[in-house]
Subunit: 371 residues, 2 copies
Amino acid sequence: MALMETAATMIFTDCSSSSSSTARLLHFSSSKVQKFPSTISHFRRSNALQFAIPNTKFPRTIITYCSSSSAVQVTNEASATIIDGKRVAKDIREEVAVEISRMKDKIGIVPGLAVILVGDRKDSATYVRNKKKACDSVGINSYEVRLPEDSTEEEVLNHISNFNDDPSVHGILVQLPLPSQMNEQNILNAVCIEKDVDGFHPLNIGRLAMRGREPSFVPCTPKGCIELLHRYDIPIKGKRAVVIGRSNIVGMPAALLLQREDATVSIVHSRTRNPEEITRQADIIISAVGQPNMVRGSWVKPGAVLIDVGINPVEDAESPRGYRLVGDICYEEASKVASAITPVPGGVGPMTIAMLLSNTLLSAKRIHNFS
Amino acid sequence: MALMETAATMIFTDCSSSSSSTARLLHFSSSKVQKFPSTISHFRRSNALQFAIPNTKFPRTIITYCSSSSAVQVTNEASATIIDGKRVAKDIREEVAVEISRMKDKIGIVPGLAVILVGDRKDSATYVRNKKKACDSVGINSYEVRLPEDSTEEEVLNHISNFNDDPSVHGILVQLPLPSQMNEQNILNAVCIEKDVDGFHPLNIGRLAMRGREPSFVPCTPKGCIELLHRYDIPIKGKRAVVIGRSNIVGMPAALLLQREDATVSIVHSRTRNPEEITRQADIIISAVGQPNMVRGSWVKPGAVLIDVGINPVEDAESPRGYRLVGDICYEEASKVASAITPVPGGVGPMTIAMLLSNTLLSAKRIHNFS
């Protein structure tokens, strides 16, 4: 969750005029392309819900409107079950709060989460503030270090080292992106694996990939996706699953998690030919590419379950803010074909911080051998 | 490569009578099942080429004959290119030998590979002997420790620790399986990552899974599979690839490697419904399940490239040994549909040791900063 911000050029296209049946990930119709207004650019650097996946090779973010039914023949008008991530996240926060209270009563330990923030990006500051608020709400102590933009890598490493040694800290997050003079890999690798509540350490990812091994922590966003499936009693074993996007923080670990639960998994990405054809075979789709409304109704097998990780701003003159948030999946079309779907906002979004709190509790329990 | 031995109950069925179009991984017809003769059981413990994948949940090994064309309509009688692993492995050994000689001349360093063998399993002894022979042939020094069956975990860990510290050793292998009193995970984790030429360390696997990270070593058998594709100029980028089997040592890392090369990858396993249907979409199939002749001609898209990791003994009264070796793929059928195929034996098999030699050279070069 510390990794959700990368700037991307944004392009605007009305997908109701593009043929969805021939769409290819990188080849959306560009006939209606126009520069995105700078106000929206500004938005992308300040809105807490903005969610773009770094490391994907999609060269740009496409802003796509899908207008209800013009491009897609929707035969099933019944609406899908709405997977209410906001409610589930609230349930989880309450469960975490109960456990923290029990832990405090029994052994006098309160879990602690440390966040290191370098520089003064507004979006990063907002993320950190939200994490702090969430910690407060469940009774996790939060510790924060703010360093100036021109800090050295060594200073950051020193703070990490202190938190690694501090027994009151059970989870450590370094808010990304870091200033360019710093080596992100060095810094992330310095967080000791027992406190890597983000679960991004390669040792964690390796254990996630290997049968018979257990990761210390599962990355929060993909963990949130699977948790939603579990809480809605959606079977995974033996199902065909397609993950769209292969980022280190969402797509790839989500695919590994689905495979651990015995799904048959395919990963669709920017180099995939015919993503629509493969996606349409899926019983479960997890999309995490940051492409507004990319997954059209025609990409979805009737009855499929759709988990939408994308949170993308699109221009909306009717909104007082001038924009609204949409997912990677064209909700209006897909919700008529799917059996269940996460809305945006209010789907996967709230789950990420809930999972961070859950991982921090898990860490404290493990360190203090409390069950 | 140290992991290729697990005993499995073997069952014998004639697949020419089962309907290939409805085959499901775990549901082969069992009407013709009979116990496998004990002589073959003996074989499985002693033959150097035997290759069964551990950790797969296939509950038994099925011995399947595919008789030429009875079950499958083969429309294209043209034969596929035979991917000659024996020749490629020989080329690689020669290249490794040249590099080792150059290294010795320039900096006086000779790469060293240490193997630890516990107990007296005949098959393990054969593997170790073959590795030693291969090392000798390219000029790698090999070191061997043989410990009795009743050794303690601590003794093994001590030897690993010594090899970790020994500057003349650049690669360390622990021959598996280990006696039951030992914890395999503890022992494998003790090999320092810089000398883990098998590439099985979870940190290595994590780096393999993550974009922007580089594993220290790629596991030898999957590396061998990809090397064969490269040496035969078979494009991977943008292709549909299906990996059959999800073992830690072959299937899973092979899928990660294909994805690193921008293939669109699906993993088929024992819980997959309709494996045939998914497999038939693939441009590239890598099969690593240890199920003789499981992949029939009807599973293969015309023109697909087939990499067969399975090496399975099947009864053969006409052979002087009473058995012959077949792959997971029904060669006779599939070679008429595919554009290229690895034979068994002589395909992937010889590549594994060649990649081990290559990884050992790589390790020595890296440790001594030689390029």
